[in-house]
């Protein structure tokens, strides 16, 4: 058997990188662990950034995944505010922006993703913000005064969550979406139509099919010009048009990359002693017989656990179905599975009641569920997805049959 690794270096201090360290220590790893993070904070939760934290309901410390004392107490060297600048696969080192280099036996790349930037005229004006880090949100909060006019570019989860909070804080919010429907990349049309209605009823001006031509202003943004010439006045712009994987370090080192760093089921890259996890990893999707990149807490946590098990030579943890949630206003959307490729959608419950679900089927099997204020649909749905269960569409749509009964029948 090969010698046990003595030194693990983790590039990236997000949820995936943090989890890898926690799971290594929990699993009994006695060697050295170093986490390199380019943000100033220890690993923290990102989901609340566009929700409770933006709203001012939580202070930053409550987002930390572990208290700061955890790291010294558990022998985890946490280097914050330092970027990894180069990976040397032959020398087994990572070079840092500080000029130092750290050596490793196993390297975990958890560099995450960064917001995609728009390349239109005026994109570098002041007041055009993005929402990925704590610092991003602090910048946004500092200028998000009630009555300010905020234009959100992109109606994905980040954009809509931020729009909901900003609306509740009293800002005048417009959301621009290039596609004909909101959330169209991440959910079926029933969900998009529902959230479209909810936001409009709350007073958010949602513009779908809106093509952005330029940002206007001198030094600071004053408006957003659409391709039909209309200018929407803006004191502030938040751009949420998706993310790009931070895979440059890996690619430059010669690791195989596509839309992310390519890894196997153990999260190993093309170099067996180098792993990649979290947003940056292009990984096998166990329940779907294909590969993909997932941007979620579930994926970050699972990747961290898989890597730790692999390094420790322990059995791999059970793989969960991808899951996700989004909080907007008084609505909790819970998603299990991936809906891409669905050939049938079943609506259960009435969206007007603000509690309903959409089940996504492919060849009769449940591949995903989006549940709005509908925990039973989500939880049983998740089990149906995991089992790739076949359920009669009529049964799923019939609210007189409980999810418990549907689950019991389909999973027996």
């Amino acid at each position: 058997m090969a010698e046990a690794p003595k030194r693990v270096v983790i590039i990236g201090a997000g949820q995936a990188g943090g989890q890898a360290a926690y799971s290594l220590r929990l699993g009994g790893f006695a060697g050295a662990i170093t986490i390199i993070g380019d943000e100033p904070q220890p690993p923290y939760q990102r989901p609340p950034l566009s929700k409770a934290y933006l709203k001012g309901e939580l202070d930053a410390e409550r987002l930390f995944l572990k208290p700061v004392e955890y790291y010294p107490e558990h022998g985890v060297e946490l280097l914050t505010g330092v970027a990894a600048t180069r990976i040397d696969l032959d020398a087994h080192t990572v070079e840092l922006s500080s000029g130092a280099a750290v050596g490793w036996d196993r390297l975990v790349i958890a560099t995450g993703s960064r917001p995609r930037r728009l390349s239109v005229e005026g994109a570098d004006l002041g007041g055009i913000l993005e929402l990925r880090t704590l610092d991003d949100v602090d910048r946004l909060k500092a200028v998000a005064h009630p009555d300010a006019r905020l234009v959100v570019v992109g109606a994905g989860y980040i954009g809509l969550e931020a729009a909901a909070v900003a609306n509740q804080l009293g800002l005048k919010v417009t959301v621009l979406e290039a596609m004909p429907q909101v959330l169209s990349r991440v959910a079926g049309p029933e969900i998009g139509q529902f959230y479209n209605r909810v936001h409009r009823a709350a007073g958010v001006d949602i513009r779908t099919g809106a093509r952005l031509a330029a940002f206007e202003g001198a030094g600071h943004v004053t408006g957003v010009r659409l391709d039909d010439g209309e200018v929407i006045p803006a004191d502030l712009v938040l751009v949420g048009v998706g993310v790009l994987p931070n895979m440059e370090l890996a690619a430059e080192a010669g690791l195989v990359c596509g839309n992310g760093i390519v890894v196997d089921g153990e999260m190993r890259t093309s170099q067996p002693d180098v792993y990649a996890i979290g947003d940056v990893a292009w990984r096998p999707l166990a329940h779907y017989g294909r590969e993909g990149r997932l941007e979620s807490v579930h994926n970050a946590i699972e990747g961290g656990k898989i890597v730790a098990a692999s390094i420790l030579g322990l059995p791999a943890p059970a793989l969960d179905v991808p899951w996700f949630w989004s909080d907007q206003y008084d609505l909790k959307l819970q998603t299990a599975g991936l809906w891409t490729g669905a050939d049938e959608r079943i609506l259960r419950g009435d969206p007007q009641s603000r509690s309903f679900a959409v089940f996504y089927l492919k060849e009769g099997r449940v591949i995903a569920v989006d549940a709005v204020n509908a925990a039973p649909e989500y939880l049983v749905g998740k089990k149906l997805v995991a089992a790739q269960a076949t359920v009669a569409p009529g049964e799923l749509a019939d609210k007189s049959i409980s999810m418990k009964d549907i689950g019991a029948r389909a999973l027996s």
Partner: protein
């Protein structure tokens, strides 16, 4: 500050000082209590912070909300005194609270 005791499935007790307004889940994470995963960070979205509330405190702690109850209805090994610890906010009168973590959160 209210003291909270976490008992794991094997019976090991760990008592820590909580802070009013923080949740029983957050307090567990802060003190590295095993058996509470809290994958979603307290959004009532994952049911991996399930605990059993000691009989002496079930009334004081109160009943779960409709959302939490739905999550519990479908969690594993649910009992009468099950709660999601991310939904229990610590208050002065919860001093001495004891909660037991289930064998597994999945």
């Amino acid at each position: 500050m209210p003291k909270i005791t976490y008992i794991d499935a094997s019976g090991t007790e760990r008592t820590v000082e909580g802070k009013n307004g923080m949740t029983v889940m957050e307090t567990a994470i802060k003190h590295n209590i095993p058996g509470i995963d809290a994958d979603c960070g307290g959004a009532c979205a994952c049911a991996t912070c399930h605990v059993y509330v000691d009989g002496a405190f079930t009334e004081k702690v109160g009943k779960p909300s409709a959302m939490e109850q739905s999550m519990l209805d479908f969690a594993e090994n649910v009992k009468e005194n099950s709660r999601l610890s991310c939904q229990i906010k610590i208050r002065e009168d919860l001093d001495g609270l004891k909660v037991t973590t289930p064998e597994s959160q999945h």
